[in-house]
Amino acid sequence: MTASKRSQSVIEKAASVAALMVLAGVALAEPAATKPAPATPASAPAAAKPEAPAAEKPAASAELPSAESIIEKFIEASGGRAAYEKLKNRRIVMKMEMPMLQKPATMTIVQSAPNLGRIDVDLNEIGKQQSGHDGKVAWQTDPNTGPRIIEEGPEKEQMLRGVRFNSEIFWREMYSKVETVGQETVGEASAWKVRLTTPTNDVSYMFYDQKTHLPVQSLATQKTQIGDIETTTSLSDWREVDGIRMPFKTVMKMKGVPITQTLTIEKVEHNIELPADAFALPEDIKEILDSKKAPSTPAAPAAPAAPAAPKRP
């Protein structure tokens, strides 16, 4: 037991249970980070619900740089298209910290071009969560809520954007509209605020540091089975790995829930040999699929139809 734990009151510890009620439903049952995307700009803010305030009109070109140029500068600053295109798959091991976790969880993300993804989160005493996309089926299993297929809809769309490998360089496919809507101070950085709109009209915001051209913050809405969750994510500690730069520290806050989730990258590998079943569906997911294919339980034999009334001669 740690010293800090000793000094914590029981009731404060107990409050963790309360927080976990939500946490379990939000950050665990539907972990934002399990939208397969280390918080890189094109995928972290996969969608956002809030409409842009009236004041956030796209900037006149004379006042602000275009969103296209800001995003392209980011791609260049993070390694350039050529560097991204050399990468075919990726495995990331991250440490996930939340106040109520006894010890940090471990998150492992595996992605492969073009759209295969799987995330395993080992939450220690809480259990293991998995989610993924095998190219056709988006799925999730959770020790609390059980297995589920992520059906067609906003949640699946967001997940598909998340599993798109090297989504950074495919932003034109992922967003139908990008606009620079202003500049704001984020921490110590002066940042361009860019609004990203998907073809299905999900809106998110990314804040690009004007000096480094790297994102420092995103505002998004996580689409989950239990509801939309507005998140603010800060991105920092950008480091180069195999020619591209990645944010090694991601801190996400959820609106309305006093919980902060911190992700720290511990290991990144690219172009590795993945096992054949790296993206295979778990058995309980296959079971759900099979049950959907199976004919429904036969109804009880119908009673013989009453004989038709004899026709009058």
Partner: protein, 518 residues
């Protein structure tokens, strides 16, 4: 030596909430974080309106304390403004409340006065799970009775593993309406059973400390709280605090009205020890069996350790697939991880898109969605609850209630369901606030109201003395009615109307002890 379970010291060194046996867990710790949460919720005392503070003399604050008290007032006001799930606070003029009450906080001369002002501010919300916990609020329950320690260096013991008396208590009303603590059950081979304690006995004192006066004080202090019985029961159970091998003196009134003096040896706690989420250790107890070799029975004492509980639950429900019905016993379960109820309920709900309820936060609604399991159990499910069923237990019971194959039995639950957190204020007090509202899938508010069973079956001392469990008996009978007594799975039918409760009282211990076979 265990050192959690204590409150941190204030900056001035005054114990905010001290335990009388330093290094030992408080009763909240012993009976679990989730229980403690509900307990704490209950002890918010309506924004200090009825805080039992008589034990602490009011002392004039220093200049620094006054400054920090005003800062605390501002902190509470701001937190509510910024975190309440309803930005309009139900139409309350929150700025006006501040303008009216802040001068009073500035003028307060004592800690009690400033707490009163903050309590008045919080009270304007008219909600539970908001409150200030003053340091002495728990004094009545916290004072530890004398325990005969075995865990001394000389004894060679003292591993510090918390022990258990091996009993469960419930509060029942005497004829005059005042509560008494009655033994609900004793564990076979446990300390209480070994000392001869029987279900139905009334607990009169522990370590020389009388139970009745404390229950009376707490009962009065918490008369507005639905979770009153939960708080009081856990408090008295906590008096049996100690390590394995310790012995606790206790006096009882048996079924014949005689006083029985015992020493209850604390034995090992049953269940699987779980340490998670920075909570004190918990012992998760799972029980699965067949009743009459047919009906499935599942009991869980707390919703924690999903990595242990969920696989167990899944496997047992699969095993009971051939049963005419399943009993889900949530009596005494204080709650825990709400999402576990979502998964566990998925075995009993066939349709997708169903929820157990909705949490509303400032960020929007969060639906407690149920994922139906492939080949789930579609026969009758009897859910058993009592006044110690709280939080996630209430979410699960209310979410299942009203479905064609489910019926809830027992007594009204604790009504302590909101997720809340505690924040330390500049003056050292703790501010509890809820950050979400909760309604079940029928739109019912659980907080304060709890879950009223379809069939209300109060516990009676007579039944306990006779070794009966009328709630379980009725649940089994319902399942057999549904299955036509055939023992095979039954077809769902529409839920029936609630059954009115029968009157249930416990004889005044000082008077006629009533019928008893023991």
């Amino acid at each position: 030596m265990r050192s959690f379970g204590r409150w941190p010291e204030r900056e001035n060194g005054e114990g905010l909430m001290t335990t009388k046996t330093p290094g030992r867990m408080g009763w909240r710790a012993r009976f679990g974080g989730a229980a403690a949460l509900a307990v704490a919720a209950g002890l918010m005392l309506g924004g200090c309106r009825s805080t039992p503070r008589e034990a602490t003399p009011e002392v004039a604050m220093t200049a620094d304390q006054r400054l920090k008290s005003v800062e605390s007032f501002d902190k509470v006001w701001t937190t509510i403004r910024d975190s309440h799930w309803d930005p309009s606070l139900g139409g309350l003029d929150w700025e006006g409340v501040r303008a009216e009450l802040r001068p009073k906080a500035e003028a307060a001369a004592t800690m009690g006065e400033v707490r009163g002002v903050m309590g008045e501010m919080i009270g304007r919300l008219g909600l539970s799970h908001f409150g200030i916990i003053p340091g002495d609020a728990y004094e009545a329950a916290e004072a530890k009775p004398e325990v005969e320690r075995a865990s001394t260096p000389e004894s060679g013991r003292g591993a510090g593993e918390p022990g258990s008396p091996g009993l469960e208590l419930r509060l029942l009303p005497r004829a005059d309406g005042r509560p008494v603590a009655v033994v609900k059950s004793v564990e076979a081979g446990g300390g209480a059973a070994s000392a001869g304690v029987k279900p139905g006995w009334i607990l009169d004192s522990v370590g020389g400390r009388e139970v009745a006066p404390v229950l009376a004080r707490l009962s009065e202090a918490m008369k507005d709280k639905g979770s009153r019985n939960l708080v009081m029961t856990r408090a008295v159970e906590g008096w049996f605090e100690g390590d394995e091998g310790d012995r606790v003196r206790a006096e009882w009134t048996d079924g014949r009205g005689r006083t029985v003096r015992t020493k209850v040896a604390l034995g090992p706690r049953r269940g699987t020890k779980i340490e998670m989420m920075n909570l004190p250790p918990e012992w998760v107890r799972m029980e699965a069996r067949r009743i009459d070799q047919r009906i499935g029975y599942l009991s869980l004492n707390i919703f924690l350790a999903p990595n242990v509980v969920s696989p167990w639950w899944n496997e047992r429900v699969r095993e009971f697939r051939d049963a005419p019905g399943i009993v889900v016993d949530l009596r005494g379960n204080p709650g825990g991880i709400a999402a576990m109820a979502m998964g566990m309920s998925g075995w009993f709900i066939a349709d997708s898109g169903q929820t157990l309820g909705t949490l509303t936060t400032r960020g929007g609604p969060l639906r407690l969605v149920v994922n139906p399991r492939v080949n789930g159990f579609r026969g009758p499910v009897a859910v058993l609850v009592d006044e110690l069923s709280a939080s996630t237990s209430e979410i699960m019971a209310s979410g299942l209630q009203g479905r064609p194959n489910v019926r809830v039995f027992g007594v009204r639950t604790a009504g302590a369901a909101l997720p809340s957190v505690f924040e330390k204020l500049p003056n050292g007090d703790r501010f509890q606030y809820a950050f979400a509202n909760l309604v079940d899938d029928k739109g019912r508010r659980l907080e304060g109201d709890g879950v009223t069973p379809d069939e209300v079956i109060p516990l009676t001392r007579e039944a306990l003395l006779a070794g009966r469990d009328p709630v379980l008996e009725r649940a089994v009978a319902w399942i057999m009615e549904r299955s036509g007594g055939s023992g095979g799975p039954a077809a769902p039918t529409a839920p029936t109307a609630p059954v009115a409760p029968a009157a249930a009282t416990v004889p005044n211990p000082g008077g006629n002890p009533g019928a008893s076979g023991r």
